[in-house]
Point group: C2
Chain length 255, copies 2
Amino acid sequence: MSKLNIVLIGSGNVATHLGKVLKKAKHNILQVFSPTLKSAKILATQLCCAYTNQTSNINPNADIYIIAIKDDAIAELGKKLKVKSKIVVHTSGSVSMDAIKNTSTNYGVFYPLQTFSKAKKVNFKSIPICLESSNFKTLKTLQTLANSISNNVLNISSEQRQNIHIAAVFACNFSNHMYAIADELLKANKLNLDLIKPLIAETSEKIQNNAPESVQTGPAIRGDKKTIKKHLDAIEKKEYKKLYQLISKNIQSHY
Amino acid sequence: MSKLNIVLIGSGNVATHLGKVLKKAKHNILQVFSPTLKSAKILATQLCCAYTNQTSNINPNADIYIIAIKDDAIAELGKKLKVKSKIVVHTSGSVSMDAIKNTSTNYGVFYPLQTFSKAKKVNFKSIPICLESSNFKTLKTLQTLANSISNNVLNISSEQRQNIHIAAVFACNFSNHMYAIADELLKANKLNLDLIKPLIAETSEKIQNNAPESVQTGPAIRGDKKTIKKHLDAIEKKEYKKLYQLISKNIQSHY
């Protein structure tokens, strides 16, 4: 399998995890770019490569430029990056491929569908990688790259990718926020999240082989009005009360 | 370890799972009661025991009567069950212990903190069992029973139990509803929940060793306003739009 020369643009969670797994797969990480020199240096040190905070100093000799920065900043960065016919991709779930169409004649999207936190290792092999590209040749190279780190590589259009991203926000970001609220409520009562960790694990495990609808439990779906009222009376924070009400109502109308 | 004689009152998810694991731990399930004879029979057949749908026919010779029915129905059932000094417990997260204080001189709560669906086996050993009781002797017996099926037995007051239950509603029921919404949004776009199952697994796995707050990701916490706006424009159902907005706002004010 061919090894590719890569410049990483970004130094956040996605750039860090991608950089590490690509290096492990024996690709050459030539350089890390970040507008913050310190962040660029931290990641470059882990990857044993060069770094810069000047777009004008970005190494022009890579095969692929991977832009892994905040969605809102991608188009702006794209305006400054000109690499002729080299491949440029971004890693965002919600930014259209065209946002970087002026960077090169060959561009695309390389979206790893996972939640990355720096502190937590992930196994890339099972992570779906959603690819999109401006032409077939670029797609082939992106497939080579993606297949070198994952067994789950998919061709996904910009529109599909946005819908997947919205679903991911609900299933991942929002459910994590439910955990955070639970954590806060327990702490306020001198109880520990450890208590409900088996419950959290089981809830997510259940849906690996069952439709979420078919395994919904709790007061809302049972229509336990007294319990719902008791809970609402006991929740102090207005915004959590509102969330409890809205989601319970939503569960009840869903089934 | 002493084996106990048990009557199960209820035939739903909790009664079914508890019945099976208690039988496996060599306790004697004497009888299943359910107001619906057919449901009583189905569970009794699995447990090889007697069954009835008449409260007047409930076997008076058990050591423990376990009431595992809908929260709203517990007090009503409690009015009909009179078993003198035998132990009566309910399994609810949110009903106070006193709801069954007239059933016997010895009563309490036996609350397994888990989400049960009939189709999915669970490993009881790691499930926290929250106990509460009207007196010390009863507590000792409940501990014997709980320790025979779980390594995670806790003494929890009615007030603590309610707070745990509220946290569990957020962390379990509400996050499962987020999965259900994701599933629906994907299906509407001819995509499959399988795509984000690795993401769901990782999200819940992360918090086993990290505070949920510390691993929050996504557009809301990054403050990606454009992405949030794009998502809101793309979501068709009014109630999902409202949920997306409210939870995103909540995430942003939380950090």
